[in-house]
């Protein structure tokens, strides 16, 4: 599924200029615990999270996560956005809760690493 399709499904705003909306996304992982992301997230997935701290970007860079969706309209601060731009990581903000965001993607055929 294209990133722009995911943005549409989640009513999400794309907040990073560099976003390649035609990037293909097959897997999603969701957590607010960075330790869990480092342990469980597959490479080349998108991360759905409620945490907007710059650590999320660093964790994404380490684990090769291409895009991050922040839930419940949580907008990351400028430091987080700038870091993401530098690392070419796409940022999206959705008004949906984490549960609803995951649910919509699941209904549309996206799976997480445990079911791929």
């Amino acid at each position: 599924m294209k990133l722009k399709e995911i943005a549409r499904l989640l009513d999400a705003e794309v907040i990073s200029d560099s976003a390649d909306l035609d990037a293909d996304i097959m897997l999603v992982y969701s957590s607010d615990l960075m330790s869990d992301v480092l342990f469980f997230a597959p490479p080349d997935c998108i991360l759905i999270t409620g945490l907007t701290h710059p650590h999320v970007i660093r964790t994404a860079e380490i684990t090769r996560i291409n895009a991050i969706v922040f839930v419940q309209n949580k907008k990351p601060d400028s430091e987080t956005v700038e870091l993401a731009k530098k690392k070419n990581i796409h940022l999206l903000v959705t008004p949906l809760s984490k549960f609803a965001a995951c649910g919509r993607l699941y209904m549309n055929g996206i799976r997480d690493c445990s079911e791929k």
Binding site: D32, L33, M34, S35, D36, L38, F39, P43, L51, H53, H55, V56, R58, T59, E61, I62, T63, R64
Partner: protein
């Protein structure tokens, strides 16, 4: 591959300083990418060093991350001046953590760090002396 001999280096880590958390791991990751190593190997090294860096920042006053890259393997040694670990067996259990609340609020301290370092290493060794510090040695094979 562009590696002709052992390449070694070190990074100093400062406890309590979350602002620069991950910097050493990202620099090492860039070095490995420059050497043209396989992406999956780079990812594993980046994960174990990042986890180790975070642990030093959470628990210790200071520490060092040493690395040595040869044709066959990448060796990582992280040593800290910290409180040490009382029960290593317990600390290796997934989900066990002694991290304070302020660390958990930043998304860390879920008790997955040491298990994740072991999971992503081909060889893993941990030594700790209470009141002195902890040393973690990890090897990731390139072939």
């Amino acid at each position: 591959m562009a590696i002709s001999q052992s390449i070694e280096g070190s990074f100093q880590l400062i406890g309590g300083n979350f602002d620069n958390a991950g910097e050493a791991s990202i620099k090492l990751k860039q070095e490995l990418a420059r050497l043209g190593l396989n992406e999956e190997i780079i990812r594993r090294v980046a994960i174990v060093t990042f986890e180790a860096e975070i642990n030093v920042i959470i628990y210790a006053a200071a520490g060092w991350l040493h690395y040595a890259i040869t044709l066959e393997q990448i060796k990582i040694k992280v040593e800290d001046m910290g409180p040490g670990i009382e029960n290593i067996e317990l600390a290796m259990q997934e989900g066990y953590s002694t991290a304070p609340d302020w660390v958990r609020e930043l998304g860390w301290g879920a008790g997955m760090g040491l298990p994740n370092m072991k999971k992503n290493s081909d060889e893993f060794k941990i030594d700790s002396v209470v009141g002195e510090g902890t040393t973690v040695e990890m090897v990731i094979n390139i072939k």
